[in-house]
Symmetry: C2
Subunit: 216 residues, 2 copies
Amino acid sequence: MSRKTFQRLTLDERKRTLLEATLTCVAQQGLKGATVRRIAEEAGVTAGLVRHYFGSKNGLITSAYAYLIGQLTAEADTRARQSTGDANDQLRHFLIANMTMPNLSEEKVSLWATFIGRVRYETDFADIHREGYRDYLTLLESLIEPVLAAHGRPHGSAECRRHAIAVNGLIDGLWMEGSLNSGLYSRNILPDLVTGACERLLRLQEGSLSGGKQHT
Amino acid sequence: MSRKTFQRLTLDERKRTLLEATLTCVAQQGLKGATVRRIAEEAGVTAGLVRHYFGSKNGLITSAYAYLIGQLTAEADTRARQSTGDANDQLRHFLIANMTMPNLSEEKVSLWATFIGRVRYETDFADIHREGYRDYLTLLESLIEPVLAAHGRPHGSAECRRHAIAVNGLIDGLWMEGSLNSGLYSRNILPDLVTGACERLLRLQEGSLSGGKQHT
DNA sequence: ATTCTTGTTATACAATTGTATAAAAAATTG
DNA sequence: CAATTTTTTATACAATTGTATAACAAGAAT
């Protein structure tokens, strides 16, 4: 009876391995299927490591939620910054980043929803949600402000905040329903749809975000 | 050792009791806390009844999801129909119904999110989601069409569908973030915010939905 | 009243869960 | 190469879970 051979990893590598295994498990079968044993197997280790690195299963799950939120925001942020164009172009890229892969994915939305369901009764989750939401809103606000300015529209702090809340709602809703995609429409319409809708929300000139390829 | 005294209820009464107990439990502690025993206790019965009425725990949970979706849509639908005013007024009431109690509640959103997290990997949940979404979208479309017509704007089938998708996204997103309310803004701003945003999405005259009390 | 049906309780059980603890092996240090 | 550290495995255990089954009791039928 020889023991399993193994390799020691650095703290960060091992943690990331476990976090990603956790997300994989939760995405596949929900929290019910994400047992310590299954997660460990998915990560290629044994169950004891969870305690070693995260203290408890709950510590692992909580960290996995924060990890996911970080991924989502980072992706949209990066895509916006990669744009070399003007303010319109940056906002456009940000919007589209949320309506295309990898962010627009059934797996990501499933994970997100599963975790959101715990925000109400677990303070750890509530904290992560609040911070993530605040960051996202701030980022969106900072993208909207110069766009409004460039269009010669009012762009005070209160206005931007209000617009950011509405646009964020639009993004969240479309992201969710679009990812779960009930087969009622094609996902391909989402990028145009979100840019067009955002133009209207901000009362921009038609085509300023969608590049003139806009319907209706 | 005397047994628990009990009262026999009709099939519908008992089912509803169990469904509501289920939602209460899931809202309080998520699916993990919604054990057959806890649900039964909440309903004032013993665990065996779950099997008797719903076949299995999964049958109960699935039915509870359908029950919740029905409640949400019915409330918005009713509020829209209660309006005695014109098309604008009906759409306005529909929107507001989603931004006020009882639909705008942390409990309802928590429940909804928890269930949505299972849509991806359980066909029963996927079916319920798809149907509920389709119904909701159809209802919204039927409210939008006469509004566009009254404003002399294009109101073909494709246009209405497209608008309904966007408006639905807006509602979903605001409903969710507003209900979870991270303390970043007051819920009181949501009714005005959603009507104002919807006006813009549909490119209506300012104040047509919000009754002129609109900001920005 | 008595019988009959079936809604309801009570109990049992195998399976699974999270976690605590001890043993082993890998890498680091001297 | 020997000693040390600490990552990792392996095992054990109490608690909880969903469900199956049998006993019981409430209300309807006769």
